[in-house]
């Protein structure tokens, strides 16, 4: 579990650091007027000695004279999620934009990297949360048995009836609501899987011997059940991750997505229908999907 947490934190760290790597806004400006951090704060032109009190546009050619005696540290890749100039809408791959730009004028390479990292992080979070909740419920209902198990089965049927698209619509695209509702509705897959295996394990000779020798159910769960369950659990996790990622992106393709500010691979795929270099972009998105599945197989090996 610590291993999964480690990878979850690592992927979360990468997502948080993406604006430092892919951004059209400078990271740090050492100006005669002071030290500025445009990535963290909005500044007006007046702060850099300009006349206007409007927000600073760092990419505009008219404002370059304000930074003639300044040191600017930019992100390694100079494009982020903001649209570039209108003349660059739906442009072909070039030296400036390796994968071209979309209908909104956004750089596709930056969009794809943001979408890959953020969507993978979301899918990993949902996988771990729903698998964890399902495992706890599955093990508990199998150990208790009787009416607990029967009610768990009824609850699973009710929960399984909730379509994911409805969960996204109900959560009104708020990420926290969506994660909560998603975990409430998707735990049943692991509860059923883990419940079946726990029942098989409870019938094995070493577990029955441990029960007869007076060991507590907590110790038996920790020593005998969890190591065996983890083995089978880990085999299922990459498929769950891949299916959640594909499901979320499929819904994004049809205009149902979570979090307005996050780019989605499904949306990028939808935009390529009108793009002159659509085939190439689709190959890159396909590569992103395969890369995320390889990542999941590596994490859950």
């Amino acid at each position: 579990m610590i291993r999964y947490l480690k990878y979850w934190l690592l992927l979360g760290g990468i997502v948080l650091c993406l604006p430092l790597l892919l951004n059209d806004t400078p990271l740090l400006i050492i100006h005669p007027n002071g030290v500025f951090f445009p990535i963290a704060q909005h500044y007006t032109e007046a702060a850099f000695g300009g006349e206007s009190t409007l927000l600073m546009d760092y990419s505009a050619p008219e404002t370059k004279s304000l930074f003639s005696s300044s040191m600017i540290i930019k992100a390694p890749y100079p494009y982020g999620l903001k649209p570039v100039l209108p003349i660059h809408v739906q442009s072909a791959p070039s030296r400036l934009h390796p994968l071209g730009t979309n209908t909104n004028g956004q750089d596709i390479l930056a969009l794809s990297i943001y979408a890959l990292c953020q969507n993978s992080f979301m899918a990993l979070t949902l996988t771990l949360l729903s698998a964890g909740i399902g495992t706890i419920i599955g093990v508990w209902s199998s150990i208790k048995g009787g009416w607990v198990r029967r009610w768990n089965q009824v609850l699973m049927e009710i929960v399984r009836s909730m379509p994911l698209a409805l969960v996204i619509v109900i959560s009104h695209q708020k990420t926290s609501w969506f994660i909560g509702l998603f975990c409430l509705t998707q735990w049943s897959r692991y509860a059923q899987l883990v419940g079946q295996h726990t029942t098989e394990l409870l019938c094995t000779t070493y577990v029955t011997d441990a029960l007869q020798s007076g060991q507590s159910i907590g110790m038996i769960t920790k020593i005998h059940l969890i190591p065996h369950l983890l083995n089978r659990w880990e085999k299922q996790l990459p498929y769950t991750f891949a299916s959640y990622l594909a499901l979320l992106q499929g819904l994004a393709y049809f205009g149902v997505w979570v979090g307005d500010q996050y780019p989605q691979l499904g949306m990028i795929a939808q935009q390529t229908k009108q793009h002159p270099q659509g085939l190439g972009i689709l190959l890159i998105i396909g590569f992103c999907f395969i890369a995320s599945q390889r990542l999941a197989t590596y994490i859950f090996r």
Binding site: G250, V256, I290
Partner: protein, 293 residues
């Protein structure tokens, strides 16, 4: 003993359906929206002018009487809409199901016999299954636009291909694994040793026993095909079936239609799972023996 288990299972189903209807009616009751547009009840005023917490019960009462109301956006009875759109989805799913099982079983036999062609095909099917349908469809769409071909003219056959190909690889793997397990059993070697002909061993021993897990999964696979897979494929190919209807209902927050679609889905899936259990008890002698023991 097995009949007792099946009766218990059958008796609990209506309770599950009523619970699903109540939970969803409660959710729609709590969701923001205009109650005046909720046309499900004749006594609409009672439902919405009385204490709000009773309206979910009123909706449930109407659902139990078979009154699912009218769709808010299509202005037609929900039951009529479901009856009009479900046959097309059934047709699509059954065609895809047939293709999947025929090709999957043939592929499984090929994998068991370790044919090189089957192994290459398995790599292709597995690779195909890793990529999402919407991506493959968009790729095909853009490619056909560049070549000047209208793929939407062949939407139904293409939808069947999309639905069936991604399910062939796991079915073939299951089939090959079952054949391998069955083939290693002593009675097969004994039969060969006694000179039983190869085709008799295949038909009466190997296939008959190895296909049991495959047939047990069939109702669940069909339900999954009808309700999960069909939604995506129908939206991609603009086939106005049940999946298209339910997705449009969710997007528009057409509450009566969503409730109707979810109830239909729950009833058919529960019956499908129940049929799977009946098949399991009927086909698997080990489970029957275990129950009697």
């Amino acid at each position: 003993m097995e009949k007792q288990y099946l009766y218990k299972r059958l008796l609990i189903l209506p309770f599950i359906w009523i619970s699903i209807a109540f939970v969803h009616a409660l959710i729609y009751d709590l969701l923001p929206g205009s109650p005046e547009a909720w046309l499900i009840v004749d006594d609409l005023d009672y439902a919405w002018t009385s204490d709000r917490r009773y309206s979910a019960l009123v909706i449930l009462g109407c659902v139990l009487k078979g009154n699912l109301g009218n769709s808010l956006f299509m202005h037609k009875p929900v039951l009529d809409l479901i009856k009009a759109h479900l046959p097309l989805s059934l047709q699509l799913s059954m065609s895809a199901f047939g293709v999947t099982y025929v090709l999957g079983m043939l592929q499984g036999v090929g994998l068991y016999k370790q044919h090189r062609f089957s192994q290459y095909l398995q790599v292709f099917f597995s690779g195909y299954a890793t990529l999402p349908s919407f991506l493959l469809f968009t790729f095909l769409f853009v490619l056909s636009m560049n070549m000047g071909v209208q793929i939407m003219a062949y939407r139904f056959p293409l939808a069947i291909v999309f639905l069936s190909i991604r399910r062939i690889a796991p079915l073939a793997r299951l089939m090959a694994s079952c054949l391998r397990t069955e083939g290693e059993k002593p009675y097969i070697a004994e039969s060969r040793h006694r000179g039983v002909s190869s085709w008799r061993i295949w038909v009466f021993c190997l296939l008959r026993n190895a296909l049991i897990p495959v047939w047990i999964k069939a109702p669940k696979q069909f339900c999954h095909l009808l309700f999960s897979a069909c939604i995506v494929v129908e939206m991609l190919f603009s086939i106005k079936g049940y999946g298209w209807l339910s997705f449009i209902a969710i997007k528009q927050l057409d509450y009566p239609l969503i409730l109707g679609c979810i109830l239909t889905q729950s009833i058919i899936i529960s019956l499908g799972y129940f049929l799977g259990e009946v098949l399991q008890l009927w086909l698997s002698p080990q489970i029957r023996r275990g129950l009697y023991d």
